[in-house]
Amino acid sequence: MPPLNDGNTSGRAYWRSLDHLADTPEFRAFMHREFPAGASELLDSTDRRHFLKIMGASMALAGLGLTGCRRWPKEEIVPYAGRPEGRDPGIPVSYATCMELGGVACGLLATANDGRPTKIEGNDRHPVGRGAADSFAQAGVLDLYDPDRSRSVRREGKRADWPTFADWAQGHFGQERERRGHGMAVLAEASSSPSLLAMRRRFLEIYPNASWHEYEPLNNDNEVAGAELAFGSPHRAQIDPARAKVIVSLDADFLGAHRNAVRNIRDFAAGRRADDATKTMNRLYAFESEFTLTGANADHRHPVRSGDIAVIAAWLAGRIVDEQAWRPFEEDPAAGAVLTGELRATLEHALTDLQAHRGECLIVTGAGQPAEVHLLAHLMNEALGNVGRTIAFTPQPEQAKHSESIRALADRLADGKIGTLVILGGNPAYNAPADLDFPALPGKAGVTIHLGDYYDETATRCTWHVNRAHYLETWGDGRAWDGTCSLGQPIIEPLFGGKSALELLAVLVGDDTTDGQAIVRRTFFDLIGGEDEARWRRALHDGVLANSAWRTVTPAADRSGLAAAAEALHEASSARSIRTSGGRGWEVVFRPHPTLYDGRFANNGWLQEVPDPMTKLTWDTAVLLSPAAAGELGIERGDVLKITLGERSLEAAAMIQPGLPERCAVLPLGGGRGFEGRICTGAGFDFYRLRTSEAMSFAGGATITKTGGRYELVTTQDHHTIDVETIAGRSIQQRLPSQFREADLEEYRHHPNFAKHRTHVTHRLSLFEENLPHQAGEGDYAWGMSIDLNACVGCGACIVACQAENNIPIVGKDQVKRGREMHWLRVDRYFQFAPRNDRYDPNRVTAVALQPVPCMHCENAPCEQVCPVAATVHDADGLNVMVYNRCIGTRYCSNNCPYKVRRFNYFDYHRRGPARTQPGKLLQVETDYFRKKPATPDELKQLQFNPEVTVRMRGVMEKCTYCIQRIAQARIDAKNAYANLPQAEKEKRKDRRIAIPDGAITPACAQTCPAQAIVFGDLEDADSRVARARKHERSYEMLEELNVKARTTYMAKLRNPAAPGSGESQGDGARDESPARGDAGHSGGDAPH
């Protein structure tokens, strides 16, 4: 039936009934398409040939394409049935643990991602670190995954296993037991572990004739001896820089090499915060040979040869304690020659200051100084009433003297009196005093057992080598510098089945408990006196046993030895004095390496690559010489020198370092390892070969000659920063006042907002309307960072923390040479030189500027405007983010970044490995990206990666993200918390943003900073620490004249030199005579141009 409304398409269509509607052609077509058509096809009978064709093709496809030729990896699916309580897969968990270094333990938190430790942080419940940690602790996690670690027990170099060793040990030590340990010796590393001490007692009970030796190449022998001189028994000094108004450092690097530096830095920084109404801060005088971090942070620093420190100590003691101290030096013109000119003037200032601040001053002595200097310092501290206030002591009854200890062992070994030698960690074949000829000694014992992380210099000379478990793999305990006891728990099963010293000793003593946990528990319960499971669990959770610090005492110092000590000092110093060798001798100073420690971290890529804070040298150790010394020897950086000390000599490359005393060469230990690790091979020079047990820290009378050879030394900072002869070097001196703003305390009092006036920013008006969608005040959050230069001491722990957190690769010496290091955060180091005529004098460092530089997260980011593919953009919170997947690597962003904080992955550094030189050049083609299945980087190394952070490939730009993964985590937590609120509560907050509490986000750098110099937070939140820091009068923006509107700002540094501002009253030379003055490199507070 034709529809009635045919032809009436312009008007409305009316249907008489649904049937009528159903009859329209459209509907019929629709119906046909919807059901019957398909069905009719199904009803069609497929012919046989068609069917066979289809089936045949399907079979062929199925067989060829998929199942036939492919072998799927066999996987087993295991139900996660026994899920530990509170464990969610994928959610990282932190465990408290501790790491021992040089006999001092620091409390740490180890973060594990599904059972892999990936990141170490300071334990915030630990009273010493309070959440901060040093570079060694930060880098410790990399040691765990070091592919060069010893992976098995070895017997005479051949692979063996632990049961074989245990069987052998049972037999061998059974016999030893019968001989009550006659002819047995143990050489251990210093340890504060109560369990190890208990085990040692047990050992000596079972083997009473055995001897127990202790050796650390970096030890406190002199301190102990000094305390013995003063108090009659070993004591450890517990200093409190926070309470000291005046600090005098006698060659003491209490902010750097000291094993309690993390705490010292915090306390020292606390004493320098001049932000309250009184605007007061401490004053640090440093007299030192090497340029340490302590010196870099001093208000007055004088380069003095280590041997001449005695003269200074005696002079001060002569005035503070008793004239006797100075008497032997009085008539000595050589001593008088030390105390001349600027040094004399500074010393007078220091003396006045000390006497004016009785009870709130502090004299610290370097570990390398002879015992008598320590004695003088103790006497001075006592005379100044500091004992019990800024310095206290803890008795150390079991403290061994390491040099004597290892010498005694060496003598017995040489005499063939040792049948069984057990070396518990340590590497004496590398780092024992050279005169002991230790490498030859293990062979003289009947059997030697070595426990160590690596099959290293010592291990290869031993009968047995037992691979040691990393501290993250094993149970342990230890005491901090102040005695606070921490527990260490394993985060991961030993990767290579290693054993801890405790477990090895348990076998040696035939202990019925050989399990690390049981041993530590036993000690713990002995320590707290009873099996209190709750306290054990508490301590394990907190990582620290509450109130377990040693009680401090204030022993009376014995003054009677003063005269004798002074006499001894005078004799030693004149014997050692370089002046006695006709003015041609050199002093050599052995110093701990700031990142390699004593060389044990030499195979740790992060610590090799993180630059030395002062020299900025990486991947090497070198002879440090002042520019004047270099001029005298006619050498440049990288020239090879021959150093002769006594009958020993050594060739090593020279590095020029301003601020060293004349005729003094600083030799950082820790390089030139004989161990063939993939990182440490060829890194630096082994200065242990010059170090004898008579002169463990410094020696006079060395000769240095130029050999004519060259060696390539590589730094992360160009030499222009110390080169003032060129226009470039002078220009740096000119721009410093605006980039690194600082003032003397006196100027700060008069001009609190001096930092805002260091550079002249004419205006920030723009020709165009700046369309910045994410300026502070417009988004939900506005993340920002403030770095307090007054607190920062420049230790560089933040660099390593950043590297660990953000999967930053190391690049190797060759690539650092090409300026391709990848650190997202760097610490810039500049020396300020005294002006000389219209130039600068490279031999007179007036101050050091240390400035951490992460990405500034500019609101008006120059990098974003030039990226052609929009790979770097702003996010909703105003972060300048890097979209790695979008980046094609034009590198334009880095060119346009005025702070040069962007880093480019030139090769795939994670896969490539840190080759020291580029081997094979042409042949080193990496086709990874063009193969189907990319080769993986070292699987061990992969375990360390933080799964929250992308592992960047080659050809991609990267940079600091403010640890965006941590921000995201905090935001998720805040949103979850919001979502769980009751509805009524939600309604109330509907129009407000979801608040993230201040402090909920801490980037890795801020987390580990011992000085708490880095503050991060939300600028939207007016009460946040960062918002307050930004409003602070000392706050400034680096390169603000570029109008980039940086989110990272700085707080200007303050210096507190004596006689500030009123140079006239101190005589005409006072200003010149205080060379540590902050602003001597520029004039007054005005802009440099």
């Binding site: 410093l736 334009y892 795939d908």
Partner: protein, 470 residues
């Protein structure tokens, strides 16, 4: 053919200097120019030079392969000098590519008839230089396989490129320039290709030339359309001559790096590009006219004219150098002043003074007519300018990047062997293409040359019998 030569460099206002020498009819012109393509074998020098240059071009290719397989770390680029030789080479080659279109388009619009002898191979040079130039930004990115993200191609990510970036402008500017130059070159070549087609003595030649001659028969309508098209393309290409190097200069001028952030860059770069381009034309023309006997077409007057332009643009560039220093001093800005003083006295001072000598001092020789018309002198100056213009880009890119704001981040750039290999290899590619062009395509625009001969002038003598011949 007459062996008589006439000095056409005289300046006599009463007499127009002849642009084509020793020819009084069109046939001989065709014969002589086509001989370059039709001679049974090219001069031995051609074989030697194409052997060398193609080896270098292959080296270029192999190095690119090595680069892609290994990573851009094979170059000397570093932090802070993230752009090294590749970008220096890019800007250098883009600059070379300027003279061709300038001669073709601007001189055409200004009715400079002497352009006809040199425009064809100057345009060819442009195309090949832009090919070399275009290679570098393409391979210099960290992930070459994603370089196509620079183009606004619709994609599943719904991402546009970032239009604020001068690098993106480069993509468009160079892309447009290349396209228009290629079209211009090709359109201009059609009548000459038809000539070669008509004279072809092998089937392959006939087909190949025939294909590209687009069925040109030389009818009035063809000529009419052709001249229209040529004029339009000239008008289109003219602004491009100015725009492309201006845009390339924005890569630097738009950034905020001291030494880059300079408003003088666009005109300075264009002047420099013309300067460098003409020097390259002279460099190529001198041996080419010698080897293929084209002295009757590329006469001393042509060379002298080009040398005058070199003198002019060289002086402009010298002025720009001075002005940069003046503005840096006048700005009073610490970083600006340093950037320029450091250029002249710092770690790369040798490069700066080499550049200043080559680009500013050497062309001053051309004030003297004797030197302007002396083949050795002009070859020397042209080579100086080639070196100098490369170093100009080196100075701009490297010295500015190596020492910018924060002294801690300064560095010293050293090229790697791959950098040097690629620079040399790009010359290989350029010369290979150029030598192939000389051999297989009409090297001088025959049709146009004929049009500027006195015989083509209907008011002159009656010798335009072959005027319609193409």
């Amino acid at each position: 053919m007459s062996t008589l030569t006439v000095d056409n460099t005289f300046e006599d206002p009463t007499r127009r200097a002849p642009l084509v020498l020793n020819h009084d009819d069109f046939t001989s012109v065709t014969e002589e120019i086509c001989y370059v393509n039709e001679s049974p074998r090219p001069p031995r020098a051609w074989y030697v030079s194409i052997a060398i240059s193609s080896i270098l071009a292959s080296l270029f290719g192999l190095l690119i392969l090595y680069l892609i397989l290994t990573g851009v770390g094979v170059w000397g680029n570093m932090n802070p000098v993230m752009w090294g030789f590749p970008i220096v080479n890019f800007v250098f080659w883009v600059g070379i590519g300027h003279a061709g279109t300038l001669i073709s388009a601007i001189l055409f619009l200004f009715r400079q008839k002497w352009r006809t002898a040199i425009n064809r191979f100057a345009e060819a040079m442009t195309i090949f230089a832009v090919v070399c130039a275009g290679t570098f930004p393409g391979i210099h990115v960290g992930r070459v396989w994603l370089a196509y993200w620079l183009f606004p191609i619709p994609n599943q990510m719904e991402m546009w490129p970032q239009f604020r970036s001068p690098l993106l402008w480069d993509v468009f500017a160079v892309g447009t320039y290349f396209t228009v130059s290629l079209l211009f070159w090709y359109v201009g070549m059609v009548p000459d290709l038809a000539t070669l087609r008509d004279r072809a003595n092998t089937k392959i030649k006939a087909i190949a030339y025939g294909l590209f001659a687009l069925g040109w028969r030389g009818s009035m309508r063809h000529w009419h359309r052709y001249e229209r098209a040529y004029l339009l393309l000239a008008a289109l290409a003219t602004p491009l001559v100015l725009s492309v190097h201006s845009v390339v200069s924005f890569d630097f001028a738009v950034s905020q790096l001291p030494g880059w952030h300079t408003t003088i860059f666009p005109p300075y770069f264009v002047a420099g590009a013309i300067f460098g381009g003409f020097a390259m034309v002279v460099t190529l023309a001198v041996p080419a006219r010698e080897l293929w006997g084209l002295k009757n077409f590329i006469t001393m007057r042509h060379l002298e004219n080009m040398n005058k332009i070199i003198l002019l643009t060289g002086s402009l560039v010298g002025y720009a150098y001075m002005m940069e220093f003046f503005i840096a001093w006048y700005s009073g800005a610490l970083y600006e002043m340093f950037a320029f003083v450091n250029r002249a006295t710092g770690q790369y001072a040798w490069a700066y003074w080499l550049m200043a000598f080559c680009n500013v001092a050497a062309p001053q020789l051309f004030w003297f007519k004797r030197l302007r018309t002396s083949i050795p002198a002009m070859f020397f100056v042209a080579m100086c300018v080639n070196v100098g213009m490369w170093f100009e880009r080196f100075v701009i890119v490297i010295t500015s990047l190596s020492q910018d704001f924060l002294g801690s981040s300064w560095g010293y750039y050293t090229p790697s062997w791959v950098d040097i290999g690629m620079l040399v290899g790009s010359f290989g590619l350029f010369l290979t293409l150029f030598l192939l062009f000389i051999r297989y395509l009409p090297v001088i625009a025959m049709a146009e040359v004929k049009a500027v001969m006195p015989q083509a002038d209907p008011h002159g003598h009656d010798g335009h019998a072959e005027g319609g011949e193409a």
